[in-house]
Amino acid sequence: MRVRTILLTVAAALSTAALACFAASAIAAPDTPDPVADAKAFRKYFTDKFPKVKLEDFVNGPYSMNEDMRKQWKEKEEFPPYEFALDAGKEMFSKPFKDGKTYADCFPNGGIGIRQNYPYFDEKEGKVITLELAINRCREANGEAPYSYVKDEMASLTAYMAFTSRGKPMDIKIPNDPRALAAYENGKRYFYTRRGQLNFSCASCHVQSAGEHIRAEVLAPALGIMNALPIYRSEWGGMGTTSRRLVSCNSQTRAVPLEPQSDEYRDVEYFLSYVANGLPISGPGSRP
């Protein structure tokens, strides 16, 4: 029993000391979130840090940061391995449900060229709705079983829908609704919160160390990081959804992942997409 008490007192003493010294230095940040100012500052951080990278190129992640990686990417883009997932997605998209309807009936503009508007804040439900969630809601509304958020079917479908929006600027709206602002802030908090035994936040890698190597991989900048999703990863040998990417990032920092499409994941996608407004959709992307 003695061990535990020593442990607790030492840890507690250290953290109170730490807290004390922070209190002095923390500037009284304004409490009401200001997404417009955040987005401007977010973009400025990356354009200042990487002046040679063209704004719209940030969406190409590691390939906007490293020439050797970019060359390998360009060679694969000649005839990308995600062709098969794209074709499968297109076929699935037009295959009617048992009740005769198709995805086109669920989505504005028949689901074509609309990926840049996702995720959006649903004022009736008071929650963020991502493209993956909307697809499963459409399936359930038409008597079909929902797809897994981390498996091939969802990846192929979202790949096809992303492909129909390629080049269109990300266009995420935050309606004048305190719950929308709260969701945005919740996403921002998740993005900067350290987690897992490695004690990393998303920002530790994608803001502080963007462009640097972590083993063989080059870390993608956070600006526009959602624009390329879903991604075909050589690591996975297949197309992976946004949910799968977030879950695998969590486990890499040794944090236990949450349920796919949990509020935190939906909100962080909302935050990251909003601050990338104006940057082009480049999904489906291919990555290491």
Binding site: V10, A11, F22, A26, Y45, R194, Q197, N199, V207, A255
Partner: protein
């Protein structure tokens, strides 16, 4: 600034490694496991569990099943320390997330 946060966590983990001298009995193991699982439950409510805690808990149960209560109790204690560290991380990050925020 984040260095101090890291040190707090590192100490929490280091100290947890110290094993107790006497051979642990099944009762010791059960008590240690209960404490660890309760701490991990708190970490879960903060939605901030660590995979390392989960694997250490599993190792504790595996050792216990094999009858090695010494190792089982030690793993359970380590799991509890890890769970507490993850709780500490979650509570400290409630304010510290702003440290790295781009403004």
């Amino acid at each position: 600034m984040s260095m101090i946060g890291n040190m707090a966590l590192a100490t929490a983990l280091l100290v947890s490694g110290v094993g107790s001298a006497l051979a642990a009995t099944e009762a010791d193991y059960k008590a240690a496991l209960a404490a660890a699982e309760s701490a991990e439950k708190d970490a879960a409510t903060l939605r901030n569990r660590w995979t390392k805690t989960e694997s250490t808990l599993a190792a504790a149960k595996k050792a216990a099943a094999a009858g090695d209560f010494d190792a089982a109790a030690a793993s359970a204690r380590e799991a509890e320390a890890l769970a507490k560290a993850s709780i500490l991380q979650a509570t400290s990050e409630k304010t510290h997330w702003k440290d790295m925020e781009i403004r």
